[in-house]
Subunit: 254 residues, 2 copies
Amino acid sequence: MKSQARIHVGDALGEGAEIRLDEREAHHLRDVLRLAEGDGVAVFNGSDGEWEAVIVGIGKRSAKLIVGERLREQSTEPDLWLVFAPLKRARIDTLVEKATELGVSLLQPVETLHTAVERVNLDRLGMIAAAAAEQCERLTVPRVQPPVSFGKLLAEWPAQRRLLLCAEAGHARPIAGALQAHVNESAAPWAVMIGPEGGFARSELDALAKLPFVMPVGLGPRILRADTAAVAALACWQAILGDGQQRPPHRSSA
Amino acid sequence: MKSQARIHVGDALGEGAEIRLDEREAHHLRDVLRLAEGDGVAVFNGSDGEWEAVIVGIGKRSAKLIVGERLREQSTEPDLWLVFAPLKRARIDTLVEKATELGVSLLQPVETLHTAVERVNLDRLGMIAAAAAEQCERLTVPRVQPPVSFGKLLAEWPAQRRLLLCAEAGHARPIAGALQAHVNESAAPWAVMIGPEGGFARSELDALAKLPFVMPVGLGPRILRADTAAVAALACWQAILGDGQQRPPHRSSA
């Protein structure tokens, strides 16, 4: 189903507001979305809902939009983090795209003892997250955080946020049952955590096992790649505890 | 966690059996897995379980293995098909990898009215499925079928196989509840079906709506890309109705 072109903007939104786009954004509008002066586009900024806008000027260096009517109100979204050891480029790009589609609110890279990838390009990942949010009709773009060490992450972890740890070894509950045990709770903050391709170190697993907010879960008998495990766990969480009961906007009878 | 090198072979397996690998397989053993004469490798063929083998000869054109002890018995796996409209190259490759990791038994490309991609390279997809099966420690490799038209697929559909249709529009039950309604049934054959990026045509949706084995399910309020929807639905199916209760081999107390 073809959906309307949507873009994420930094500006405040309201009827009659004027939005100026920079060179990169103007290029996206013109050369990727193939829009021209007079065309409509939906805009969202993560806090004011989604609005209709019209392109009133577009050049090589910039573009200008005028905001019209509000199309959708901003709504509350699940508070779900993804904590992941950095992966190689193609896999981390796909992971950020999928995690955004699956509704994570924040992406937190973590450096573990066996993490093979040192550098994380936050700008690139932020652009991938924004593009995926535009595509999947979210009203927010997940934040991509700078990498943090494993020790600091756990030391500063907010104790009320449950951490679903995808664990291929050791004691773990099957993920469906582990999540279903929480369906009658009111909405709580959660996180999904996956280790690096080489797995967590013994000392890291021991540290995780001592923490009351950590719930080790199993994803079946196959050894999943880190990016597959993340997407599988996020999908199960949304289906069982998240917004899996909701339907896409404007489509319930399309 | 580093796992033992594993390869899928076509030969029958049993203690003392001799296995000859061709040029491509020998290259994989030598240059990708970095193995040499005298090294061990686990082998599986989809029907005889997993066996230890030793490389007794390896050259540019071929390699020879001798099979030792059985490591794992063949076991029954969920009977889960993935039916999907062909996607562009990077996305279809990732989809085949992820679907293999998530335990599908058969991959069935289907040509729908809005399918944009015409050609499917079955050899390449078969190799990706085999590599993913080796990596994730499955004992089987999913079959990759030649593409079939939407009409023929439905006309020849085995009526006892339930078809979970990922539907972003129209009536659909949330996926978790739809699957949980079947947890007390004995193991049945299922399939997950996703449409092309452009969505199913109206006439296709109408045809699907009339079929008793079709269960339209929703995956939440975001519009997922076809490959994301497939992975999400497969993960939920395995967690709720598949082998999500099982743990990886040899790792329960590692």
